[in-house]
Amino acid sequence: MYFEYKVVGGDFTIAGVASSQVKKTLKQLGIDSSIIKRVVVALYEAEVNVVAHAYEGVIYVDIKGDGIKLKVEDKGPGIPDVSLAMTKGFSTASSSVREMGFGAGMGLPNISDNADSFRIETVVDKGTTLHIEIKFH
């Protein structure tokens, strides 16, 4: 089952719409709540990343019987140093983003912690694509 959600850079008021929708779907499918929690946390972090750093993005969701695959593709600045971005507490978020309670530098590590498989493709000045997989069993 496929879903697609558009994400707009800079609009924090709608960040979380995709994760809420995916959560609702997984609940209706009767997925274990601890797994739903991991999906929602990972996707929400990814969503906020796009809003905070990129110009725009699309979230592709693919749900099958054994698990969920998320692809979060954005047009944006890209990540110059992926290993640095994966360090807990490292953040390039602007002060205005931090004032809204985001940008603590936990985004990517948090996604990685919650995923069974996590991969980043990034090109500086072009954009970033995250591949996240979480198994249901």
Partner: protein, 442 residues
């Protein structure tokens, strides 16, 4: 629609009074209601006993499954546990003494304040919050506990595993009767409830617990009885034992913020069903951080807005604030409560109540869900309710579950008629099957 009775619920729809107006299907937070055959039906498995449907029913077809008042006379000692909100239903001219006397005249031998246990409970909560998974969600409001069981199962472990005040007070009474060597068959503990959720909570408690409460009395019904006796100046011929010990904290506990303000750390108080759902969504997404304790109540203005309350919620809450201002910080039974109840305030793990929408087999569930999504695109998306379901999405789900048909939708039916695929007679028959034949007679 198939209606299964899984657990003891507190609401019942009288089919002979229900006019199938569909007001209730729109307000149900778990979409547990449908209209079929001109009558509303509850999907028992999904009902959380919040009573939102009761609030909007124009014909009072939704009945509360309270206990027969006459049951109290089966016992020699008849205690009524009265919530502070009950006294706030009366105009200021009606004194507490008058209300106590009438309660005695109506048949009770003793009356006690439900919130007598609050001071002990607050100590226990503060102790609990320090060691528990954050944020702790109060177990006070039974509709919220049930909402979490059904709609937010991932938050179940956040629910505080301490008994609500009514149960602690009831346990105190049980222990007191035991201490006085009064036979179990000789005393009856009754609870006067401002809401439907608490009836369900007493009849089917969560967390591996059995309530010592013998019966639950509907406050709406009892208010009428007391007020009528007051108006008719019924002579008082009996005397009632009054155990009115209560602190200012206890009086205000059922009002919004009355619980959270006594808990140490970062606390928040949320009331009103829509606010609660919105907040729990965010909490479940882990968008809310650094909160230690959450007071969450299903009714706007908490128990002052209880389903079975008669008086305006803001006036009732104000009356409680005025009364609390005259009450002391402590009462003389606090130590007795602590000694008697500390061992019994804890409850076991609360189990989720799964709301299986499609199928337990994930592959079948995905297939059905995809069908429902395709169907939803065909439906008009205006959630008119003319099919008897609360929304187009709910109809699509009902169809793939085999509980409704595509041509239950009035829009799709009109298109089928235009194409000549169904006759006008068939269309009317469908309308009658949903809304009842009599409705179209005039």
């Amino acid at each position: 629609m198939q209606v299964e009775l899984i657990y003891n619920r507190a609401l019942h729809i009288s089919r002979d009074i229900c006019i199938g107006c569909s007001h209730c299907i729109k307000v149900c937070p778990t979409e547990a209601l449908r209209v079929s055959g001109g009558k509303a039906g509850i999907h028992a498995d999904w009902c959380i006993d919040c009573g939102e449907c009761y609030r909007v029913c124009p014909t009072r077809a939704i009945r509360v499954m309270d206990d027969d008042f006459k049951d109290i006379f089966k016992f020699k000692h008849r205690v009524l546990l009265v919530p502070s909100i009950f006294f706030a239903q009366f105009e200021d001219a009606v004194s507490r003494k008058t209300i106590y006397d009438i309660i005695g005249e109506l048949g009770f031998t003793e009356v006690c304040a439900v919130e007598q246990s609050i001071d002990t409970l607050i100590d226990e909560i503060n102790h609990y919050v320090k060691r528990a998974q954050e944020p702790v969600i109060s177990s006070f409001c039974p509709a919220v506990v049930r909402l979490i069981q059904v709609r937010f199962p991932s938050l179940i472990d956040n629910i505080m595993k301490l008994l609500p005040p009514i149960e602690i007070t009831a346990q105190y009474y049980k222990k007191r009767f035991e201490r006085d060597s009064i036979d179990e068959r000789d005393y009856g503990i009754f609870y006067l409830t401002p809401c439907i959720g608490k009836i369900a909570a007493v009849k089917s408690p969560v967390g591996g617990y059995t309530s010592p409460i013998n019966g639950v009395i509907n406050m709406d019904f009892f208010f009428n009885k007391v007020y009528l006796a007051y108006k008719q100046k019924v002579p008082i011929t009996t005397s009632i034992r009054v155990n009115s010990a209560i602190s200012s904290k206890g009086v205000l506990y059922p009002t919004t913020g009355g619980e959270s303000k006594h808990v140490e750390g970062n606390t928040l108080a949320i009331d009103g069903m829509n606010n609660v759902i919105d907040f729990l969504e965010k909490l479940e997404n882990e968008e809310i951080k650094n909160v230690d304790f959450l007071e969450i109540r299903a009714c706007d203005e908490s128990c002052a807005g209880g389903i079975l309350c008669y008086r305006n919620r803001f006036l009732a809450a104000q009356t409680l604030r005025e009364f609390a201002a005259q009450m002391p910080d402590k009462h003389h039974l606090i130590h007795d409560y602590k000694y008697t109840c500390s061992a019994i305030v804890h409850m076991d793990k609360i189990e989720p109540r799964s709301m299986v929408k499609y199928d337990r087999n994930i592959d079948i569930a995905i297939e059905k869900m995809e069908n429902a999504r395709r169907l939803k695109k065909l439906l008009p998306g205006i959630d008119c309710g003319a099919c008897g379901a609360p929304s187009c999405e709910a109809l699509a789900e009902d169809i793939v579950r085999g509980q409704a048909k595509v041509n239950d939708c009035i829009f799709l039916r009109t298109i089928l008629e235009k194409r000549g695929e169904i006759s006008i007679e068939e269309a009317i028959e469908i309308m009658e099957s949903i809304w009842g034949a009599e409705r179209f007679n005039n």
